[in-house]
Structures are given as structure tokens and as C-alpha cells.
Amino acid sequence: MTVFDELAGQRAAVEVLQKAAGAAAAIVRGDQVPAGAMTHAWLFTGPPGSGRSMAARAFAAALQCVNGGCGTCAACHTTLGGTHADVRFVVPDGLSIAVSEMRALVLRAASSPTQGRWQVLLVEDADRLTEAAGNALLKAIEEPPPRTVFLLCTPSTHPEDVSVTIRSRCRVVSLTTPSAAAIAGVLVARDGASEADAAWAAAAAQGHVGRARKLARDPASRDRRQAVLGIPRKLTSISAAFDAAAMLISSAEEEAAASVSEVSAKEKAELETALGAGGTGKGAAAAARGTAGILKDLERKQKSRATRAQRDALDRALMDLAGLYRDVLAFTLKSGTAPVHADVAEMTRAAAAKWTPESALRRLEAVLACREAIDANVKPKIAVEAMMLSLWQG
């Protein structure tokens, strides 16, 4: 077993990473390695759900582990769990990563590793770096300290996702959309899911490993998916279309709240403890004055994280919906491709008997247009309402 086992269907990438980890271990031992065998800056690319950050984490663990990423030792566990002293994560909470945050992290990453191996700075969603934050990072990447490694994750190497200069300094590891079979394999091997559950979840997740895992083990997310898949049948009038829109939005809000509220409350409690809220004695009053500002900052950060979680949840729901109309379209065309939502194939087949391919396609396009509109900052509620009306109209 290795830390790379979790990466579904990414054999080529894993090979590259294992080789580099081997060279890195040699450097730690003080051996000579050929130039370029190990690189200080890495760029993990791949579509959402392909496991970019998972791959980066696994590689970080392989760098810290004396056995090249055994997956069982303390170094592996702490790295994967996010508590290793020499691995720092930049997980954007909001819609972008601020420059101040990046400067502080870059500074810390420049210190020498406490455990004698590597200092790792892992930036998930590096495409959400602000320009200034990107520049702060670039400076560090251009002159990396000898034992510091930067791992960046972005959807692609397109200049919109990562600046050309940063890209030019990085070695690129591109991940591909894993096949449903590869995802199912991981669910069975790593999570102990049954073959049937794994196959179902892998297909329903449309190539998104994290989503497949959630569907396989979280009943609430299965229920939400069912509700989304029930939408087309409910669109019987204009009024029903607005009801469906309201349902979709509030379900995304609920899902987001569930995913962030716990960590937000914990963060706030920790901060209050750290700031000595409720303390008495000298300096407590002065501290309280500064405390309000710090708490406000945290609240702002948490709010922006909640917004992002809502958008992500809504996007997943829209992907489920798109998959549904894709299935109808495939049935109308008798294309014979396997349905995304095999469990509701009866319904999609029935819809296909009534709709023309054109109208199925129009509906599919309406869902995709809605995602684009939300990307272009249209108020989600308005975008979803417009989409539901199109779906109703057909």
C-alpha cells in the first residue's frame, strides 16, 4: 500500500511522482542525483474531481515519509491529515487568496524543515490567487530555498488559471478524468464500499472522485441528489418552475451550511480562546478592543467561505441535472452510451419517448448556460429561475 493508491486512474502521473520522491529521498541522504530528477515547483492540473489536491497531498507525504509514502507511518498520516509541521496548506476559503496571507506563508516556507526533510507549501486552487498573491508566490518559486517544495493545483495550465511566468517555473503533472471503473476500484479498495454501491456512486459522480466518495457514504447527499433528479417531473407550470428554483437554491445553502458551520464554529471558539476572550486583569480591556477587529476578519472570511461552498454545492446539483438531460438526449439518439444516472434510467427513458432530441438538447444547454451565468456573476437565484423556466418550456 502507498499514499498514491487513492489516485484513481492516474498511473502516468503516479509514476512521475514516485520517481521524483525517490530522487528527493536521495537528496535528503546526501547522495548526488541527476539535475532535474527532483523539482522545487510542481503544478498539478486536471478537471475538477480528478484529484489534483489529493495527488499533491500524496506527493507531499511521499516527500516526508522515509519509505517514500508508505501511507502508514506518522509522517504520512500527519501530512495527509494536514498536521505535519513541515507541510503548509493554502486552502482558499473565499473566492480568492489574499496577498497578505500568501506573503506570510511564503515566509514560513522559506525556513528550514524541522524534521530534516522538506518544507512543503501546497496551494490548492492556485487559480484563485489574486495577481498580487501570485507575484508573492512567484518570487519564492524563482529563488527556492534548497529544501522547499511548492505544490500548486489548478484546473489547467491556461493563463486564466495560472500565470505564464509561474507556469514556466513549474513541472506539470496533468491528471485526467478517471473512468468510473477506476473510481469504483478506489471506493472498494480504500473505503470498503460494496461493488454495487461503488459502481453506482462512481457513475453518478461523473468522474469526480470526492463526489463519488460522498455519495457512497453520506445519505444526506444521496437524498439531495434524488431531489435534484426529481426536478424535471415537477416542472408542470411557471409557478412550479419558481418553486423548483427555490428548492435547488435552499438545498445548496443547506449543504453548504452543513459543510462549513462546524469548522466555522470551531475556528471561532479557537480564536476566542487564543485571544483570551472573557479574560480579566491587566491588558484584557486593551486586548478586547483589538479582538473585535480580528473576530470581524474571521467572520468575513467565514462568510466568503460559505458563499463559495454554496456555489460549489449548487454547481454539483447543476451537474447532476445536466447529466440527467444528457441521459435523455442519449436515449432519444439511441446512442447506446451508458447513462450517468443509471438508477433513474426508467424516468429518463420515459422522457426520451416524449421529447425530440432537439428539445432534450435545448434543456441540456439551458443547464450549462446557467452554470456559465453563475460563473459570470449572475445572482444564482436569478440564473436558476431563468434555467427552470427554460426547462419547463422545453
Binding site: I238, S239, V378, E385, L389, S390
Partner: protein, 320 residues
């Protein structure tokens, strides 16, 4: 109209708006009379007498020349001497325009030009209400419209005393009404001006009142309402109509199931007449589209809003 301009003109007064406008109208007139006219502008404080002598000396090629001297009160002594000497025998092909604040500073120049027979264009700050009323009436007349004293006063009380804003309001009113400006027109334009919001725009749009919606939109933008809430309000207007369309029952009965306050339900029910399901779909799409446009997708957000307002109003049956 190619009347030769007076060879000497003195724009006299300390109102920056009036003074600047007199200068630009002199320049415009010169360009209109002769597109190839030689137009030179100077700040009197920076101009040395030698340069002036050169500027007024006859051109080798002939043709009209317009010389504008701004801030004449800042002219140095020797410049004034040269100017006044020139004013005694001005070149017929050169038109000299001097703007002067009209105070004690540089008084020798303004007095000298006046004595030399310069045409005086007043540009003093307006302090008396009667003068302001006259300004508004002149302004509207100049733009080809007409209005009574009462109407001018009503406009001033709605817009305020700033001449620049008054002038802009006059030109807007003349453009929108064709020139016949009555006290009713002014009141209609300015009623609850501060309350003009996206909802005013949306309310007019969903009942198909295109002129009313466009007028409200222009004023909302003119008084600085942000385009984003206007776009949101438009979507809200369409949504409200769509939600109540086809429903019967009182506002109170429907309020909770629709999640809208009773007064809003009832208003939307009144507005829902004339809407078809297809029209509502079209209107909602227009509302979603403009929502993207006002958030940076479109170059001209005001134009995007106008188009959306038109699209919503026209989506209503019988408004094509």
C-alpha cells in the same frame, strides 16, 4: 450663419461654468464658420508679450484666427500693455477672446478692453433668485424650447442652484419633451426624485409602460442609483408577476405560500394582466441576461439596462 465675430470679446465674471461655456461656444462657433480656422488658446499668466505679438501678427496664408486668453486677470503688466495696444487696431482676421474674473486683479485689462469697445459676455456668479430663473429660461430658449417663470422656479427647487446641473436638466427636459416644458412635466420628472429606484423602473416595465420605465431608468441612473440593484429589481418585478400569474385569491391568502408580503401579491396580481407564460419566460431571460451585463459583462451598463427594460415591456402581450 456666417456672421463675423466681434474682433474683441471679453468674458467677464467669476463663474467657472459660465466662463468655460462661453469660451467653448466661441471655439465651436469659430470651427463652425471655418473648419480650418486657426484656434490658439493661452493662459494669460503663462503668456509672455513676445508670444502674444507673434500670435496676433498677420498670417502668411490668411484665414480666420481665434485667440483665446483664459484667466485674463493673471496677465502681467507688459502683456496688458501689448494687448491694449493691439486692441486699438485689431486685425480683422483675428478674433480675440479674453476671459476675465472681473475683480480688482488685472482690472486695467478689463477696463482697457471695455474702453476699446470689446463685446462684453457676462459670466458673473449668479446670486439672485431672479437671475437664476432668467438663466433657466434663457437656457431652455437657447435649446429651442420654452418655459414660464413658474416652471423655471419649480425646476430650480427640484434640481438646486448649481448652474451646471440646471443646465444639464434643461437639456434633458428639452430633449425628452420636444421643448414644451410645463410645470406638470417638471413635477412628473422630479416627483420623489430621491426615491426613484430600480423598483420604479421594474413596476413600469412589467405593465408595459415603455416611456415610463425608460424615464425612470434614466433618472435613477442620473441620480446615481447603482445599475446592479436596478437589474435585481427588474428580475424581482418579473418574478413577482410570474409567481402570481394564474393565481386567484387575496393577497393574504397567497402571501405565505408565495413567500411574498400581501401588498406585493396584490400589486403583482394587478400587473399580471396581459402576461402569457411564454412572455414571462422571455422576460425572465432578459432579466438574467442584464444581471450579467451590469456586473461587468457589458461595456455600457446603462444601454444594457435600457435593452432589458424594453425586452421585458415588449414580452408582455400586446406590447410589440
Amino acid at each position: 450663419m456666417s456672421t463675423t465675430p466681434a474682433p474683441l470679446r471679453l468674458i467677464l465674471g467669476d463663474d467657472e461654468f459660465l466662463s468655460a461655456r462661453a469660451v467653448s461656444s466661441a471655439i465651436r462657433a469659430a470651427k463652425a464658420a471655418d473648419p480650418g480656422a486657426d484656434i490658439r488658446e493661452f493662459d494669460a499668466g503663462d503668456l509672455v508679450s513676445g508670444a502674444l505679438a507673434e500670435a496676433v501678427s498677420p498670417s502668411l496664408f490668411g484665414g480666420q484666427r481665434l485667440l483665446v486668453l483664459r484667466a485674463g486677470q493673471d496677465a502681467k503688466k507688459d502683456l496688458i500693455t501689448v494687448l491694449l495696444a493691439y486692441a486699438k487696431a485689431p486685425d480683422p482676421e483675428v478674433s480675440l477672446v479674453v476671459a476675465h474674473a472681473g475683480g480688482a486683479k488685472g482690472k486695467a485689462l478689463s477696463d482697457g478692453l471695455r474702453a476699446a469697445g470689446a463685446e462684453i459676455i457676462p459670466a458673473a456668479k449668479i446670486t439672485k433668485a431672479r437671475e437664476r430663473t432668467a438663466f433657466v429660461r434663457d437656457e431652455i430658449r437657447r435649446l429651442g424650447g420654452s418655459c414660464s417663470e413658474d416652471t423655471a422656479d419649480a425646476l430650480i427647487s427640484a434640481v438646486g442652484n448649481d448652474l451646471r446641473e440646471l443646465s444639464a436638466a434643461c437639456s434633458q427636459l428639452v430633449t425628452d419633451t420636444g421643448g414644451k416644458i410645463t410645470i406638470e412635466v417638471v413635477q412628473r420628472y422630479y416627483r420623489g426624485r430621491a426615491e426613484v429606484s430600480g423598483f420604479t423602473v421594474a413596476d413600469a416595465a412589467v405593465i408595459g409602460d415603455v416611456p415610463g420605465a425608460l424615464e425612470a431608468l434614466r433618472w435613477a441612473l442620473a441620480v446615481g442609483v447603482d445599475p446592479v440593484p436596478i437589474a435585481d429589481a427588474l428580475a424581482d418585478g418579473v418574478r413577482s408577476v410570474a409567481r402570481v400569474a394564474g393565481t386567484t385569491g387575496s393577497g393574504y391568502q397567497l402571501a405565505s405560500s408565495l413567500g411574498m408580503p400581501p401588498w406585493k401579491v396584490e400589486r403583482a396580481q394587478r400587473q399580471a394582466r396581459g402576461w402569457t407564460p411564454e412572455g414571462l419566460v422571455t422576460a425572465m431571460h432578459a432579466a438574467a441576461e442584464v444581471n450579467a451585463a451590469v456586473k461587468g459583462g457589458a461595456e455600457d451598463r446603462a444601454y444594457a439596462l435600457e435593452r432589458a427594460v424594453l425586452a421585458v415591456a415588449r414580452a408582455r402581450r400586446g406590447n410589440r
